[in-house]
Subunit: 333 residues, 2 copies
């Protein structure tokens, strides 16, 4: 998929809760300079904490793409949003959407895009034919964030590592495999939406041959221990050919996300299986650190938990949100 | 997907080599009673070894579905086959195709199907929305054929086990996960064609709750050790919740299929990783046998190889094609 042009106008419509704007909030958190303002209808409950702005003012301020970074149940596009999207196209912006429905499947939007020569980005949908994975070794280096479960901070961890590396002047690019990450990176592949035969091939394309000192910092998805999505995680692991793995974990979770009957793996077991699988395409793969989302732990328990875990695993363990990722980046060479 | 109706008329068109009719040949080998005859154009090189028959005679003999069981490079439908397909629809048959292109995407075929009230089956394409996998334990029992590599006899082994079980009066159904298997079973899901997030969910749907004494004999795909397709294999393994696993192997292969740089796993390593992964959704999973395709071994080496393997693995090892699968079925209880 080609690159989305920034800066972005963040379209929220009249989304009914703050959680529905989670994707948009992620973009504002990680790429504040790209976000010119937010466009909200009367009745919109969410607020990204940036200025409200009209389509005309956004374009005058340089906005190139309007982002429909909304999650709603069903993934549909409310009909009363269509005219605003057409107005944005007529004003000269591209449109990018994370909804399940494709923008181009709505005839008025498709027609307006063609009329104005603008691009429509449906980040959930692969836009081109992906080859099957080959497993051939590629130049450059790669780090992959893996998890004990879904939604344990893999994207956040990867972005925090990219930032730390760039702050140190290292040659690193975050590689997005989910919709929020794609908006943040400006490109990427929604890996859980590709056809099953092409999972590892999609990751090989996402993180191709590169300079010897270049690091792809690849966003993981799911978990090898999640009965719903482990196939995605394994294909991603094989396609990544990771030199370095970071395990992400949320210590207060009592079962695998969405599956009350399914226990979480312990961290050592999870690391062992990830390493075994990773070595198929990169025998030199190692773990370089563990990222813990400690937001559910009491302040006085946090440090003890991390210290005990470091002793057990022999790896730097930290909460990237509170502690940064310096100790992980120190391990990358 | 709904069930295809048999008997079948096997359509070969003017396919250029016997290998292009491999799928059709598999159907004839496993379901000879379903195959009323073959329809071949002048210049057709392939021969299924059954009688040549016209559309009219096939319908008169009871044919319900015409099978386009052809593999060609590109997966397209040669334009000069279209009129014959329309004639078959007009004569009252459904059409089933294993090509990449969808029959319904060809307007004349779609129109003829509607006009005649006939069904079009595109076995490579999932026909409906599949839920994500849940990993919840299901009633009934399941056997899954897994492999050291692609194309090592997983479908053949599963079908041979189903046949042996049925010959013994056991309650067993072959569950197809690839196109040839789907034609043979009359239904199934082409698992490598589903969207990545739904691999295990598709298998849960394919082998649902059943009677306590019922066995689903599930066709495996790929290998946990194949860098291109391991995600499919893992999702299939989790979705299957196999009680019993059979490892399939081709002992003369020198590298993973299609990947000259990728060595084959040894059998014990392959069994260990499959068992570890299988136990996520069925802690009682065990291996019950090993199926070897010995067609590449000299006659006098064959028996020694299997005996040595039995000693090493402590499991019945046989070539299902030459030795049957009785020793595996003896292990099912």
């Amino acid at each position: 998929m080609s690159e989305m042009q920034n800066p972005y106008l963040m379209f929220l419509g009249d989304v009914g809760d703050q959680l529905g704007a989670k994707t948009a909030q992620g973009i504002v958190d990680w790429r504040p300079d790209w976000c010119i303002g937010q466009l909200r209808f009367k009745g919109c409950v969410a607020d990204l904490g940036i200025r409200d702005i009209s389509i005309g003012d956004a374009v005058a301020a340089g906005a190139k793409t309007m982002i429909v970074g909304i999650v709603n149940s069903g993934g549909f596009l409310p009909p009363h949003w269509i005219s605003e999207i057409i107005e944005a196209l007529d004003a000269g912006m591209d449109i990018a959407s994370g909804l399940h429905i494709r923008l181009g499947d709505i005839p008025e939007i498709q027609e307006a895009a063609i009329r104005n020569g603008r691009a429509l980005f449906d980040v959930r949908h692969p836009t081109h034919t992906i080859p099957t994975g080959k497993g051939t070794r590629r130049s450059g280096k790669r780090l992959l964030a893996v998890g004990t479960d879904c939604s344990v901070g893999k994207m956040y961890t990867a972005l925090a590592i990219e930032k730390e590396m760039r702050d140190r002047g290292m040659n690193a690019d975050f590689r997005a495999t989910g919709q929020t990450g794609i908006f943040i990176a400006g490109s990427g592949i929604s890996i859980d939406a590709v056809v099953a035969d092409f999972i590892s091939g999609a990751v090989e394309e996402l993180a191709p041959d590169n300079d010897a000192d270049h690091w792809d910092i690849i966003e993981g998805q799911g978990s090898l221990f999640h009965p719903s999505f482990a196939g995605v995680s394994l294909g991603l692991l094989h396609g990544a050919q990771a030199d370095a793995l970071v395990l992400c974990h949320e210590p207060t979770r009592t079962h695998m996300r969405g599956l009350p009957h399914q226990p979480l793996p312990d961290l050592l077991t999870c690391m062992e299986l990830n390493l075994t699988a990773a070595k198929l395409t990169n025998p030199a793969a190692i773990f370089v650190g563990v990222a813990i989302n400690t937001s559910g732990l009491a302040m006085d328990k946090r440090r003890d938990y991390l210290t005990a875990l470091e002793d057990e695993l022999g790896l730097p363990c930290m909460d990237p949100f509170k502690d940064g990722t310096a100790a992980i980046v120190d391990n990358l060479s």
